[in-house]
């Protein structure tokens, strides 16, 4: 590899892959940020688990000059003061840490379990989808009977709307990272037997209600505030962002979720959701969050191994279904 001080190089250093871990690349992102990147560009949650392993190791090291870290799917962006912590020293430290990050099998990631009520195919997302049909695109194939949820069923080879609901509630959703907008989670199913996928809106939707929940590709997101959006909507949940911090859950800051949270969906009716949302804002609702849990990667990998054939069966069913479904 080119040396540290050469011009014309974005990559500072590379650690080739070993049996225990993927390739690691260290990339310049100006003189205040550095990007650590794992492996090839594939969507693989075990890579994301290792990111959290490294993230914990970096944070615990309390390096002088480290400002903050931003874990994402297969990378960590490190914000640092290069005058206090010279880049080559930071890279050397990070390289050494790769020897101390526990390999996947021994990794225990601190992870909160967060239960969120959700009204599926609710009237609020229904209203914005109706507006989309009226003002943006009349013949959108991803809108069936006034909502996206039936299209999600078709696209994944599921028999009914109820089957989509069952699938979404059958797995915990791993919050791999937060970003783009304050508090917006990027979540993936921990049980790949229920890993539904969808294409995105085309064109995007000018309106999405706050608390709407949708899926784009394999990723589920919650809209923290009313905003435009491109994900296929399937329901609405309670606030995950509250500027006015009206509930004890927002005492520290207006953002509910953290990276490495596991989200479990609990179906409720529109009326129930409305009443819970009122209690969130009058401060009496208690968010159902179990802190101090951990995700044990070893037992998780064992679980994945035990369901291999079922994962393959669902993927095959999806591949067959997609052939008969129009893309937006």
């Amino acid at each position: 590899m080119p040396g540290m001080h050469d011009r014309n190089t974005a990559v500072i250093d590379v650690l080739p892959a070993t049996a225990d871990r993927p390739r690691v690349m260290y990339r310049y992102a100006g003189d205040r940020f550095l990007l650590v990147e794992y492996g090839e560009m594939v969507l693989d949650l075990t890579m994301n688990f290792r990111i959290f392993g490294l993230n914990d190791t970096v944070k615990k090291a309390e390096l002088d000059g480290l400002v903050e870290t931003v874990p994402a799917l297969r990378s960590i962006l490190i914000h640092y003061d290069s005058r206090r912590l010279p880049t080559h020293m930071l890279v050397d430290t990070l390289k050494k840490m790769e020897e101390t990050v526990p390999p996947g099998e021994n990794l225990n990631i601190p992870s909160r379990r967060v239960e969120l009520p959700i009204a599926f195919s609710d009237r609020w997302t229904r209203a914005d989808i109706e507006r989309y049909v009226k003002y943006t695109r009349q013949d959108a194939p991803n809108i069936v009977n006034g909502h996206n949820i039936e299209y999600i069923a078709q696209y994944n080879g599921l028999r009914s709307v109820q089957a989509v609901i069952d699938y979404i509630c059958a797995t915990e959703w791993w919050n791999a990272c937060i970003g783009f907008w304050p508090g917006l989670p990027f979540m993936f199913p921990l049980d790949p037997r229920y890993a539904i996928v969808t294409p995105k809106y085309n064109p995007t939707r000018p309106w999405t209600p706050e608390g709407a929940v949708g899926i784009g590709g394999p990723c589920v997101a919650i809209y923290p505030v009313q905003s435009p959006g491109g994900y296929q909507l399937f329901g609405r949940t309670i606030p995950i962002f509250d500027l006015k911090q009206r509930n004890p859950a927002f005492k520290m800051n207006p953002i509910l979720l953290k990276p490495a949270d596991r989200i479990q969906w609990v179906p409720v009716s529109d009326a129930e959701l409305e009443s819970i949302r009122e209690k969130v804002y009058d401060g009496t609702y208690r968010y159902k969050i179990v802190a101090y849990e951990a995700l044990n990667v070893k037992s998780y990998l064992g679980f994945l191994d035990s369901i291999k054939s079922e994962i393959a069966a669902f993927q095959q069913r999806q591949a067959e279904a997609v052939k008969h479904v129009a893309i937006p």
């Binding site: 050469d6 992102a29 003189d31 290069s82 207006p254």
Partner: protein, 326 residues
């Protein structure tokens, strides 16, 4: 008390370095677009360099003071006046009850002016900062730009006389023009894996026009037909600018499809597009002074060592040793 008679195009309360430490919760730092002029304004009136002060974008601010203060205006020349009489830039002046400050719409070089008042603006801290985050609508004064009728509190301050008539040495003042050279470093996603060497050569030699549609979230440059080193983004999407989402460095150049966008103070913290270059600490202030729809940028490539050196000289300039008495 600072009484707003006209808010102007966009006037926000900011502090420096802004809301640092929340990138992993999706929150960019906000803070001034031009930290150099911002910090100097505070220094001139005897505040801490990071204290809450005003960022006046494009001009049009009109406001009245209620008590005796030292005030300094830095940055773009918006022909500031106090009770109709011209006020010098980069220099602290005294104001008293009922004095009226006016900044006109900017016409020459530069795009943002900063107004610091001794004692500093007293707005509540939100997530550890007083900076206005325009996208999220929080921080600063009620999470928004100032408008007619707003009454912004000022902290109590001692007798301002000692802080009046201080000015930044002429040779320490930045020069604004319409053709900018902005230092940047290659990466994180550049050649050879994402773009071709020719793409990067073009990036570092072309005079990029700043798009009209630029703001505190992003400064857009013109679209370009890149060669790209890849034919698609693979699992991340059909276009070669797509990647699996990464955290975005503040002041990075994000290439969305064909269009480069400099992600600035209130930008998105994470996303699925490559960033082919990143501005350095010593050059980011220039972005705050770019006039949308008119100015051009040439990016000058620097090494990490050069960047560190330049960073030191910026901080050394924003210091008491650069101040002289009028």
């Amino acid at each position: 008390m600072f009484e707003v008679l006209e808010g102007g195009i966009q006037t926000t309360v900011q502090d420096y370095p802004g809301r640092v430490g929340y990138l992993d919760l999706g929150t960019y730092p906000a803070g001034p677009m031009d930290h150099f002029a911002f910090r100097v304004a505070n220094l001139l009136v005897g505040n801490a360099q990071g204290a809450a002060a005003l960022e006046v974008t494009a001009g049009g601010l009109k406001a009245r003071f209620q008590d005796r203060r030292a005030v300094a205006i830095t940055g773009a020349d918006m022909q500031p006046t106090l009770n109709g009489k011209p006020v010098p830039l980069w220099e602290s002046v005294g104001v008293g009850p009922d004095d009226m400050l006016e900044l006109k719409i900017v016409r020459g070089a530069g795009f943002r002016a900063y107004v610091a008042v001794s004692g500093a603006f007293d707005v509540p801290e939100y997530m550890g900062s007083r900076a206005t985050f325009t996208v999220g609508g929080f921080g600063g004064f009620e999470g928004r730009g100032l408008k007619k009728g707003d009454r912004v509190l000022l902290n109590r301050a001692g007798a301002p006389d000692r802080m009046i008539g201080r000015r930044l040495r002429t040779n320490a003042r930045p020069q604004y023009g319409s053709q900018w050279e902005i230092e940047a470093m290659r990466g994180p996603q550049a050649d050879p894996d994402y773009m071709t060497a020719e793409d990067m050569e073009f990036f570092f030699s072309h005079a990029w026009k700043v798009d009209r549609n630029s703001n505190r979230m992003g400064v857009r440059l013109e679209s370009h037909k890149w060669q790209w080193a890849r034919t698609s983004g693979g699992v991340a999407g059909g276009h070669p600018s797509n990647i699996l989402d990464d955290g975005y460095a503040v002041w990075t150049v994000n290439v969305c499809g064909d269009q480069p966008i400099i992600l600035v103070a209130d930008g998105p913290s994470l996303g699925g597009f490559i960033c082919n270059a990143t501005l350095i600490y010593a050059s980011t202030w220039k972005v705050g002074q770019l006039v949308p729809g008119r100015d051009t940028i040439r990016f000058k490539e620097v090494t990490i060592d050069q960047a560190t050196q330049l960073a030191g000289s910026v901080d050394e300039t924003i210091a008491e040793s650069s101040i002289e008495r009028g």
